[in-house]
């Protein structure tokens, strides 16, 4: 469904929330329950280290009204280990999802249109084996979805798609700000549970 059509229906549209957080155990849960307690479905969630050591970046996609999204963002930002939260509409961001498609090699090799189609979708082979080939494509949901349809008749074996990663169009100097922040006050290593595997060495009663 297109965004504009949707906004007219119920004021809801797709928003991408970007959160910078400390790299701490439990922060994912703290953020996730802010959505679940309001019974809001997270459509897509990506969390990974940012370009700065110790700082993580979350990309969360939800379908909501701007008013609710603003409230959610404030409640996320209020968490002790969250540094900063932004929210953006699809117009404000450039985003991609990565998809992998596993198809039988013999069919792909034999039928010419497959190769043409793949090229049309900008897909590339990442693994070619005797029995199967894995293609990779990046794009918006609709684009990667279409390629599923295309490959289905050719014996698609497995498919997986990543969460959305998004860059905010008009953001300026995040990297510089974060780098300066980390320089002034380096973050801490996550304390790994070093005792977890020491069952035999630890006294217990």
């Amino acid at each position: 469904m297109s965004n504009s059509q949707d906004i007219e229906l119920n004021g809801k549209q797709e928003f991408t929330i970007t959160a910078y957080t400390e790299n701490q155990i439990g922060i994912l849960n703290r953020i996730a329950i802010i959505f679940s307690r309001r019974k809001i479905n997270i459509e897509s969630l990506n969390t990974s280290p940012s370009e700065i050591e110790h700082i993580h970046r979350f990309n969360i996609v939800i379908h909501e009204t701007e008013e609710v999204v603003r409230k959610l963002c404030r409640q996320i930002e209020k968490q002790v280990e969250v540094l900063k939260v932004y929210y953006n509409t699809n117009e404000d961001i450039i985003w991609q999802e990565l998809a992998l498609y596993k198809v039988p090699t013999d069919i792909v090799a034999e039928r010419a249109p497959v190769e043409r189609l793949l090229r049309a979708f900008g897909a590339r082979a990442v693994v070619i084996r005797k029995d199967y080939t894995v293609f990779e494509a990046t794009g918006h949901r609709e684009e990667t979805d279409k390629l599923i349809e295309v490959l289905q008749p050719y014996g698609l074996i497995e498919f997986v798609r990543s969460a959305r990663v998004a860059i905010i169009k008009d953001s300026e100097g995040f990297n510089a700000k974060l780098r300066e922040f980390e320089r002034r006050e380096p973050g801490q290593e996550v304390i790994e549970n070093e005792f977890l595997d020491k069952e035999k060495n630890v006294f217990s009663m």
Binding site: K71, R74, L83, I191, E194, F195, K198
Partner: protein, 579 residues
């Protein structure tokens, strides 16, 4: 010696360390934070800490509660009267899950607490070990912050962070879960450094000058301005700043139940209580004012009633330390972010000194109506069964507004909040946001430890008392002086009131039988008395207040009496019913 030199010497000098256990480091840290009282209950996973505590008996007072829930409410009561951080200990598993209600209560009512739970050995985590429960995940939604420690070296730093987070900004409960191996582990302790900063955490939003100016402009041009205040005033220790603001502006001010007492009940500009069972004037006038100034309150639905008919005519100025509260329920025309201890004086400086005589007279007129239709009958019924209101009224006569009043949840709570007099701040201890029955008795224990020189009176219903009455044991053993007043209507009164008004009087499971409360108290060696006659009320209250030590007074009150006024759920505040 100049500072550069000083730094140089401290850097070159090796840090003095002592080899201690994680448990000892924890207790040293608590002492460094100024903790004097701990409410707790031991068990397997927290035994090393209790073992260490044995040697700290002269420095740390440990109060053995009878249930961990009681421990958390006591911690809350302590925090509310003292303004300090409440400290609670519990063991793993059931000890930890028993903390959840108190944590949720403290979270929603912004009460600073540090709860320490024991946890199974780190190597057993995730294995369904004996008394293992995932307390971090269970308590995440009900804590401001929580953290699991598996290595003793983390203890001083994490404890410091916990206290800092609990008490700074908008306060709240923090839980630290410490695995047993970390409690036992010996390490080189370098002493305790309090925390005053966490890099990802901004306790106070920056004050924006333009909003202060916009707010002042609105206030200066207002014809019918109205102040609503909540617990933010006392949490920010801003009572004086608030009073100055109110007096200079001449604006009538009404309170949420957690705001009660931040300005004395008798103050001429204090126009009463907001919300579902609040006063007539404040509720009606919310929908008549032209500028609404909310100070440290969060527009709870029990205060606002129906939101789409709430103060729509007014421009709203919202002062809050928590940015997430601004626009959450009521849209603010001017958001005054910041700690009200800092924002109020800035605002006061810019406003004109005024008196809103006519506007104030409107409040007086509403008050007169409420006095005639509700209050006089409630406080001086003369004949018939005793009312809760007259009990509170007589208590006021005797305590003269000097006592700390702790309540449980229900009709008696609303009546106590409506009618109790408070000369001082931090005197009304009640469970606001969560409405936790069973809060009263343990909270009163904590309140007394937090304010040992003050008279503490717990006002509790016959239902709620039976939820945490085991804490009589705590009172007995600790020997403290808490006055317990049970207002017995032989019903779960508040639910019965709703069933009467909104469910055709279908009294579904609200008649509750009670034991002989006085005998019960007696078995705990607590003096007591039960009265059902009006003529005995003054003497019974006097006996209770004069008694040396704890006392339980059971007052039989009208069975089917309703609390009015009332804003029925789903109604607008101006549709408040007087009967």
């Amino acid at each position: 010696m100049d500072t550069a030199q000083e730094e140089a010497t401290t850097l070159t000098e090796p840090k003095k360390t002592v080899n201690v256990s994680g448990s000892v480091a924890l207790l040293e840290g608590l002492i460094a934070e100024g903790t004097d009282t701990i409410f707790g209950y031991p068990g397997g996973a927290i035994m090393p800490i209790y073992d260490a505590l044995y040697d700290y008996k002269d420095k740390l007072k440990h109060i053995l509660v009878r249930h961990e829930q009681g421990g958390t409410h006591a911690g809350q009561g302590y925090a509310r009267t003292s303004g300090k951080v409440g400290v609670v200990f519990g063991t793993s598993g059931p000890g930890a899950t028993n903390l959840v209600t108190g944590l949720a209560d403290a979270q929603i009512d912004s009460t600073p607490m540090v709860c320490i739970t024991g946890q199974v050995y780190a190597h057993l985590l995730g294995t369904d070990a004996f008394q293992e429960t995932d307390v971090i995940n269970i308590t995440t939604p009900v804590t401001k912050w929580n953290y699991q420690i598996t290595d003793a070296t983390e203890i001083p730093g994490v404890l410091a962070k916990a206290f800092y987070i609990a008490r700074s900004g908008r306060p709240g409960p923090v839980l630290i879960d410490i695995t047993k191996n970390a409690q036992l582990q010996m390490f080189d302790y370098e002493g305790y450094t309090p925390c005053d900063h966490v890099r990802s955490y901004r306790p106070k939003p920056l004050i924006r000058k333009e909003y202060i100016e916009q707010a002042a402009e609105l206030i200066n041009s207002a014809k019918k301005p109205f102040i609503l205040f909540g617990q933010g005033v006392s949490l920010g220790n801003a009572e004086q700043e608030f009073k100055t603001f109110v007096e200079k502006s001449g604006i009538p001010a009404a309170w949420t139940i957690l705001g009660a007492g931040a300005i004395s009940t008798d103050h001429p500009l204090n126009v009463g209580m907001l919300g579902m069972h609040g006063n007539y004037g404040p509720n009606v006038q919310t929908n008549a004012c032209d500028v609404l100034i909310a100070v440290g309150m969060r527009f709870d639905d029990r205060v606002t009633g129906r939101l789409d008919k709430y103060a729509k005519q007014a421009k709203v100025i919202h002062l809050d330390i928590d940015p997430a509260e601004i626009d959450k329920n009521v849209k603010a025309d001017v958001p005054v972010w910041g700690d009200c201890k800092e924002t109020l004086p800035l605002l006061t400086a810019l406003i004109e000194e005024k008196q809103h005589t006519e506007w104030l007279a409107e409040f007086r007129a509403f008050d007169k109506t409420e006095q005639e239709t509700v209050i006089q009958k409630e406080l001086n019924p003369g004949t018939g069964e005793m009312t809760m209101g007259e009990v509170i009224n007589q208590l006021n006569e005797l305590t003269k507004g000097e006592a700390v009043i702790v309540t449980d949840v229900g009709q008696h709570q609303m009546v106590a909040c409506r009618y109790a007099k408070f000369n001082h701040t931090r005197s009304n201890i009640t469970s606001g946001g969560l409405g936790t029955m069973g809060f009263g008795l343990p909270a009163a224990i904590g309140a007394k430890f937090g304010a040992p020189d003050r008279t503490v009176v717990a006002v509790i219903g016959d239902g709620g008392f039976q939820m945490t009455l085991q804490e009589l044991g705590t009172i007995m053993q600790s020997g403290i002086d808490v006055k317990i007043m049970i207002l017995n209507n032989r019903f779960l009164g508040m639910v019965r009131q709703w069933q009467q008004l909104f469910h055709d009087k279908r009294y579904s499971f609200v008649d509750i039988a009670s034991p002989d409360f006085v005998k019960l108290a007696d078995s705990y060696y607590i003096a007591g008395r039960k009265i059902s006659e009006r003529d005995d009320l003054v003497s019974a209250l006097t006996d209770m207040l004069n008694h040396k030590g704890s006392y339980l007074l059971e007052v039989m009150v009208a069975q089917e009496h309703n609390v009015f006024p009332m804003v029925p759920q789903g109604s607008s505040v101006s549709e408040i019913r007087l009967k």
